[in-house]
């Protein structure tokens, strides 16, 4: 019984992390029609920043670190968007290729700066002691992660549904040309959304550190998961990213625990299913 509960919690926390990873990806794809292949690298960059910060300064608050890393990664993303992506407005294939190139640059830079060994990230001390609920023992940090994801989801929902910025983003997702025609500064909006997406990924990377550790190749492990979440949940849909993240979190965790060799195939099957029967994803609003 304990096994199922622990795996269940692991699934939820992985789902939470995946949401932090893929919500940005989905937003960027939804608004900019860009498959941002740098996204895994943004996440990994956050994990490495977090690893260094949390190991160097004992007792540093993880939330502050996440915020700081998020801003740093957002800044890097913003520079990339302004300097490179905007020059390729008429070349969508080119845009995808440069995000790929950028992901190689970032991942090799991480290898150069932090070396090839895996760097474990300490769990924040005040969250170390396990929580007891109904006689079961849970690692507190994982519970907190789930809370983070829910919090981020709510925050993003409010941003998209209740603010003017959100309205502009939604308009841009639905009909870019129309949005431009009514005076929405689409180009600036792109930069904002790209930074937001990158930033959330970076912050997510910090928060994922204690569970995943920082290691070279983390980006290549995370990117396909983000892709599968978005293919499953639908592009441009926050709800889709949320639901998809947790579905994948469960499938991946239980799959790895029960059939370690076949975990990837088990991930693959729902993706094929969805593509075969509902290519726009479970909640997709934008066609591929």
């Amino acid at each position: 019984m304990q096994f199922w509960i622990i795996q269940g919690l692991n699934s939820l926390s992985l789902g939470g992390l995946l949401f932090l990873l893929s919500s940005g990806f989905s937003l960027i794809f939804g608004l900019m029609r860009l498959a941002n292949l740098t996204h895994g690298a943004f996440f990994m960059l956050g994990t490495y920043f977090g690893a260094t910060a949390l190991r160097s300064w004992d007792g540093l608050n993880i939330w502050v670190t996440a915020l700081g890393a998020g801003i740093a990664v957002a800044a890097i993303g913003g520079l990339f968007e302004r300097l490179v992506l905007t020059r390729l407005k008429t070349n969508p294939l080119g845009q995808v290729l440069v995000t790929l190139g950028m992901s190689f640059i970032i991942s090799d830079a991480c290898l150069m700066l932090w070396g090839g060994d895996s760097i474990p990230v300490p769990t924040p001390r005040n969250l170390l002691s396990p929580t007891r609920v109904f006689g079961f023992v849970f690692p507190t940090y994982r519970l907190v992660l789930v809370g983070c994801a829910i919090g981020a989801a709510i925050a993003l929902y409010l941003l998209l549904e209740r603010t003017r910025l959100g309205a502009m983003i939604r308009a841009g997702v639905d009909d870019r040309q129309m949005a431009r025609a009514v005076g929405i500064p689409v180009s600036n909006l792109f930069t904002v959304v790209f930074c937001l997406g990158a930033g959330i990924a970076g912050a997510g990377g910090v928060l994922g550190g204690p569970i995943l550790s920082a290691y070279p190749g983390l980006d290549a492990d995370m990117l396909p998961l983000a892709l599968i979440v978005v293919i499953l949940g639908g592009i441009g849909s926050l709800l889709g990213a949320f639901v998809g993240s947790f579905i994948i979190g469960f499938i991946y965790t239980f799959g790895t625990a029960l059939f370690p060799e076949l975990a990837y195939i088990i991930l693959f099957l729902p993706m094929i299913f969805v593509i075969a029967f509902r290519p726009q994803g479970l909640f997709g609003r934008v066609g591929t």
Partner: protein
């Protein structure tokens, strides 16, 4: 005039084993293998308008099947080769159905996701694939009893296969099917209205590209006598994509030129720079920003321009 240039170029492919030492001949072999892989991808990207980031799947799977059949199950090379190519082609047929549910970026994402899953499987299923250790100690085939172990003999073998690949892809692309493929790339709606079946045309092309990808995979595993999951990685697919784009997609010579460039860069750069991936990334950025149509079209434009001026 053009044909003299082409003939000279073709002749230059015959030179390496006579002019250079083993190191360079081996390099030339690697270029040929990469060229076949890039040619197969270009069927999709340049002629079909379908950008795939998962083409390494077909190279890697064919390589692994051949490696496993020959080293672990005692198959002869001939039969192993047939099964490997059949496997890779069948996989292309299956994944093509999945990936072609979408076009454009959706297609790209699905091909990438599939290839990453295969890559992950290659690492995880270590009792089958030997995981991170890869499968070593493989042998090269002996077609008609001729050994391919020397650099020169392998080069000739690779040259024959590459020439065949080039010839057959040229025929394919120039055929009436090839014309309909290019039509579907340019105006899919119009083509459908004219009676062409865009999905079927794309799917057949996808399968054919998987076939030649598998062929390049066989050559790859024969050359290296070793196979590792990195052959299935996104870097592997990306190098091929870069070759196609740098050389010029939509031309037949472009991928070959691009493959040569990427390979030479990789070889020489790695003598000075440890971080090949970073260089690859920077080259991607450079090519896309500065030379988006690639080298071969740029070069032919230059030649046309010079010719026009000299009149």
């Amino acid at each position: 005039m053009k044909w003299i240039g082409v003939a000279l170029l073709a002749a230059s492919f015959l030179l390496p084993p006579f002019l250079a030492g083993d190191f360079y001949v081996n390099l030339a072999s690697q270029i040929l293998i990469a060229a076949i892989f890039a040619l197969s991808l270009n069927l999709l990207v340049g002629f079909g308008g379908m950008t795939s980031l998962g083409h390494a799947s077909y190279l890697g799977v064919a390589a692994y099947i051949s490696a496993l059949l020959t080293s672990r199950y005692g198959f002869g090379h001939g039969l192993a080769a047939i099964i490997s190519i059949a496997g890779s082609t069948a996989m292309a047929a299956f994944f093509g159905v999945v990936a072609l549910r979408a076009t454009g970026l959706g297609f790209l994402m699905i091909t990438l996701a599939i290839s990453q899953v295969l890559w992950g499987l290659a690492y995880r299923m270590s009792n089958v694939t030997n995981g991170d250790n890869g499968i070593a100690g493989l042998t090269r085939p002996m077609p008609f009893g001729i050994s391919l172990d020397s650099a020169a003999s392998f080069y000739w073998f690779a040259l024959v296969v590459a020439s065949l690949a080039f010839l057959m892809t040229t025929i394919f692309v120039s055929s009436s099917f090839g014309s309909s493929l290019k039509g579907v790339r340019d105006q899919p709606r119009r083509m459908a209205a004219l009676g062409f079946n865009p999905w079927m045309i794309r799917w057949i092309t996808f399968i054919y590209a998987g076939f030649w990808g598998g062929v390049s995979g066989l050559l790859y595993v024969y050359y290296n006598k070793y196979i590792h999951p990195t052959s299935l990685s996104i870097t592997s697919s990306a190098e091929a994509l870069l070759s196609v784009i740098a050389g010029g997609s939509g031309t037949l010579g472009g991928p070959v030129v691009g493959a040569a460039l990427v390979l030479l860069l990789k070889n020489y750069a790695s003598a000075y720079i440890e971080r090949w991936n970073m260089l690859l990334g920077l080259v991607f950025l450079f090519i896309v920003l500065v030379m988006p149509t690639g080298i071969v079209p740029g070069f032919s434009r230059l030649v046309t321009g010079l010719r026009r001026e000299s009149r």
